[in-house]
């Protein structure tokens, strides 16, 4: 399982490279050794596989986004969403990938077998995949990658992926050059990590001390991948340039249609929108809902909107006396008109969330749940019942011992939507006698305040999660994890513990679906979060880009199949 905290504020930095020119060598010795090999292999491959005579081939595709590809193509150290997308679909390859329905299908691994007892997976690799410097991608690369990401020294940020796997050299065995075995304890959706973790080149990184991987030039200065696009240049905070890989296996579609793909970093959204409207960029990753109409109104552009994997929530700190009672938390949720907020803030591009199970998940069926709808009357009644009444006539309820039903809602600086939520909640909750005070905190500080187990310096916090395909709330609500960073709510509910444990080991989907439904019912009753909404993912795309597929898997999922309308080039 894996989730990523989403910040949603301006770009989060990182990366490096040189100035100008093609595949400019950084003066780092590693890069100087590696890049000529890439150059040579590419030239050779181009000669061997000339570009097919098809008008769809050619042109430069430009994608603009607010953030850097933090940590670059080094899959062992990064968590950033756009970065992992580039690792999975642009520069590197994963063992498997998902079809639009979320079913695993072969990619770098041609096929795989699972041992009957569920403790071993054997991957059979393709034999026609080459690193961009000409080395073949083989089982040793997979073994190396597995050992690296499960080694604590690497400090792989998504170490939780491998919770149920045998870590280190014991967890992986090379059978032959193209066959590799991975050992695990049986658990739900055990294939998911292999969709997410891109394979790294053992022949280049094998000798690097694992605690030095983070500062190794591979990631941002001279990545050598094996995916459909070859790294050509990286100007930090400015652009990444990739070129079509002529050696990409024909069986996987051969070289991509576009010659060059440029990822541009433009931190200011108004500038991004202008660049899209003036056709300097072809794709604008994730414009705000307020910009959507401008894109729709332009005949050359198309607004893509689709359900995605992230959701926004208000996490309640149940250690606080005001928020300790689940009835109070439910009343707060019922006193907040989330449907209206989705309409107003997201301009309808989103759906109200009741739990953290997103639309693509097999257990997603909100109509089967006892959803809490906007009902100020019932909210007031619930608060009365819980003993919170306005005893002194100041418009804010108090408990019998005089505690006011008043709390702060924190959110991070520079995030308009969260600020919007805080302000609307403040105004709507006042109507049911609850005083919520929006309080903005700088992102890094906020994380420290909510994540540090000894601190937990917040009452309510507006924050978002990006869910991976495997959803797992154990870190959030299991009482065993109460001293871990993400136990914001401080939930201690034996029923929830039992269901989370059961879910994590249930491999069968129909059985799991029932468990999930039961879990969600308890969760709604417990209401550790007020789940807000699943925003739709928006993208502005120039109509000259054809065959674009964007869905919950991400924007880049089939980038190698995109082509530019020949009349536009």
């Amino acid at each position: 399982m894996r989730k990523v905290l989403i910040l949603g504020v301006a770009s989060l930095t990182a990366g490096c490279g040189g100035e100008g020119g093609q595949r400019t060598a950084s003066n780092d010795p590693f890069c100087q050794a590696v890049l000529p090999a890439v150059e040579a292999f590419m030239a050779e491959s181009r000669a061997r596989n000339p570009t097919p005579d098809d008008p769809r081939y050619g042109g430069t595709l430009v994608i603009g986004s607010i953030g850097e590809l933090a940590d670059g193509m080094n899959a062992a150290i990064s968590t950033d969403y756009s970065t992992t997308q580039h690792q999975q679909f642009v520069n590197l390859m994963t063992l498997i990938d998902y079809d639009p329905e979320g079913n695993a299908r072969p990619y770098l691994a041609e096929s795989w077998d699972v041992a009957p007892d569920g403790t071993e997976i054997t991957f059979h690799l393709r034999r026609d995949v080459f690193w961009h410097d000409g080395e073949q991608t083989d089982a040793y690369d997979v073994a190396f990658t597995y050992e690296t990401v499960t080694d604590p020294l690497t400090a792989y940020p998504n170490a939780a992926f491998w919770d149920n796997y045998v870590k280190g050299p014991n967890g992986v065995a090379v059978v032959d050059d193209f066959t590799v075995v991975i050992r695990l304890e049986p658990h739900a959706e055990f294939l998911d990590p292999f969709r997410s973790a891109a394979i790294l080149p053992e022949h280049l990184l094998g000798d690097v001390p694992r605690d030095q991987l983070r500062v190794h030039p591979y990631g941002t200065q001279c990545p050598v991948g094996n995916g459909p696009f070859v790294f050509a240049e990286h100007r930090p905070q400015d652009r990444w340039l990739f070129e079509a890989n002529p050696a990409f296996p024909d069986a996987l579609g051969g070289r991509p249609f576009v010659d060059r793909y440029v990822y541009r970093i433009i931190p200011e959204q108004t500038t991004l929108l202008t660049e899209l409207l003036t056709e300097n960029i072809d794709v604008y990753i994730s414009p705000g809902p307020d910009q959507a109409q401008t894109i729709i109104d332009n005949p050359n552009l198309e607004l893509r909107s689709y359900p995605f994997r992230n959701y926004i929530l208000v996490g309640w700190n149940s250690r606080r006396p005001q928020l300790a009672d689940a009835r109070v938390r439910r009343a707060i949720t019922m006193g907040t008109n989330r449907a209206e907020i989705v309409e107003a803030i997201l301009r309808g591009y989103g759906t109200v969330a009741h739990t953290g199970v997103p639309a693509f998940h097999f257990a997603h069926s909100p109509e089967a749940l006892p959803r809490l709808r906007y009902d100020p009357e019932r909210a007031r009644a619930l608060l009365d019942e819980a003993g919170w009444r306005d005893r002194d006539g100041d418009g804010v309820r108090e408990s019998a011992d005089g505690t006011r039903l008043s709390f702060s809602i924190k959110y991070n600086t520079g995030n308009q939507q969260r600020q919007d939520i805080a302000e609307i909640m403040q105004s709507q909750l006042a109507a049911i006698g609850v005083e919520a005070q929006p309080q903005v905190v700088e992102w890094a500080t906020l994380l420290q305040q909510i994540n540090t187990p000894e601190l937990r310096d917040f009452d309510g916090v507006i924050i978002g999660w990006v869910a991976e395909f495997k959803v797992d709330d154990t870190d959030l609500f299991h009482s065993e994890r109460i001293d871990q960073p993400y136990a914001w709510s401080g939930t201690q509910n034996p029923e929830i513990d039992r269901l989370l444990d059961a879910i994590s080991i249930t491999v069968d989907r129909s059985e799991a679906t029932n468990l999930w439904l039961e879990y969600q019912r308890v969760l709604i009753e417990e209401q550790p979060y007020t789940y807000f909404y699943f925003p739709d993912r928006l993208d502005g795309v120039n109509r000259r880009v054809v065959d674009v597929v964007m869905d919950a898997r991400g924007e880049w999922v089939n980038i190698k199949d995109w082509y530019l309308d020949p009349s536009s080039r």
Binding site: D290, G414, P438, V441, E442
Partner: protein, 385 residues
């Protein structure tokens, strides 16, 4: 220390005294206007009519404000003071119509005369005074509560209409009301931050200049250090690292602005120190504190006032810049900076959101700068022709 440098005949030109008085009693400023004195006449008349309009149009609001929060009471106070000032000034002005006075002309009076000749500067001053008056009156004037959210589904992003003269924002809040309340925050931040910096800068500058030696060296090295570092980077570092509150922002803005003032004051004091009256005070055995506070600082004040006026403008712009980086005054408190920054993403489909506060900033800061320039010219005899 003002010295007479000459004298001058000041004449008042007006119509008949009796008619003028009657007119003045009803519409202060009109007699002056009729006599061709456009500036003072329209200022008095506009003040009178504008303030009276509030009383007539919003009697209930005024009445309830009397027993309301402190800012509402302050607004009523402003109303009363403004009305009586306009009326009394006009009355006395008309009454004094035919008196011819001989007045002494001090350096300050000369400066005032030079300043009042500078039409753009006077216009700037009027705008500023008007802004502060409106900021004080906001609770009586603003059509809505700045935090009041209308119907989120139907009243968001509504362009200008009778109900919302400047449109509404993403929460269906009235932009005009927020603009008015924002004026209070922006002007307050500017004023307080500059007050802090002027106080610190003047004191340290005077001490450095007067005492000299090691004290001077230490203070001025520190000044060099703060001045030679990009102020914005310093501000971001401090504000980003801690929680941005109005208090922190104002304090940090004030605490990073003073070195300029300190330099100016030190320079002035260094030249004043050699002048006779200071020498005399020293010879008479006055304490250093007394000499600094009573003799040096008042005399070095001219350039400080100029720097302060320009500083208020800069501070308002800087606050807007911090808001752009998400480090300004935090919502729901409306400051102009936050309004501009928040509205910029919808510049193309709801331009009024960031344009009006943007223009408000530009014209306010412009006014401060015009006044500052005018003051500089007026106080600097070398620039007068």
């Amino acid at each position: 220390m003002s010295s007479d440098v000459g004298s001058l005949v000041v004449e008042h030109h007006q119509g008949t005294s009796r008619g003028g008085r009657l007119l003045s009693a009803i519409l202060p400023g009109l007699p002056q206007l009729l006599a061709g004195r456009w500036g003072v006449g329209s200022a008095a008349l506009l003040t009178w009519v504008g303030l009276l309009w509030i009383v007539v149009a919003r009697p209930s609001r005024v009445a309830s404000a009397l027993g309301g929060a402190w800012d509402e009471q302050l607004a009523v106070g402003t109303l009363v003071v403004g009305l009586s000032t306009a009326w009394l000034w006009s009355w006395r002005d008309v009454a004094a119509a035919h008196e011819v006075k001989r007045v002494g002309v001090s350096v300050w009076e000369l400066a005032v005369r030079a300043f009042s000749k500078n039409r753009t500067a006077v216009a700037g001053l009027l705008v500023i005074v008007g802004l502060y008056v409106i900021a004080l009156l906001t609770p009586l004037v603003a059509p809505y509560d700045p935090a009041f959210q209308g119907d989120l589904l139907r009243e968001r992003y509504v362009s200008a209409s009778a109900a919302h003269p400047l449109g509404t924002d993403q929460f269906a809040r009235d932009v005009l009301s927020r603009l008015l309340y924002g004026a209070r925050i922006s002007l307050l931040i500017g004023f307080v931050a500059v007050s802090i910096s002027v106080t610190i800068g003047t004191l340290l500058g005077a001490i450095a200049g007067f005492l000299g030696g090691i004290v001077d060296g230490v203070i001025m090295r520190f000044v060099d250090m703060v001045i030679s570092f990009p102020r914005l980077v310093l501000l971001i570092t401090i504000i980003a690292l801690f929680e941005p509150s109005i208090f922190l922002i104002t304090a940090v803005l004030g605490l990073t602005l003073w070195p300029g003032t300190a330099r100016i004051v030190r320079g002035e004091v260094l030249s004043l120190r050699e002048r006779e009256f200071v020498q005399a005070a020293t010879a008479l055995g006055f304490s250093k504190t007394r000499i600094i506070l009573r003799h040096l600082i008042p005399n070095a004040l001219g350039p400080v006032i100029v720097a302060a006026t320009l500083g208020i403008g800069n501070t308002i712009v800087l606050e807007a810049g911090l808001s752009f980086l998400g480090l300004g005054v935090q919502p729901p408190t409306p400051s102009w900076g936050t309004m501009v920054a928040d509205g910029r993403n919808v510049l193309l489909n709801a331009w009024w959101l960031s344009t009006f506060p943007g223009l408000a900033i530009v014209f306010t800061v412009l006014s401060f700068n015009l006044v500052g320039d005018g003051l500089r010219d007026a106080l600097d005899p070398r620039l007068r022709s």
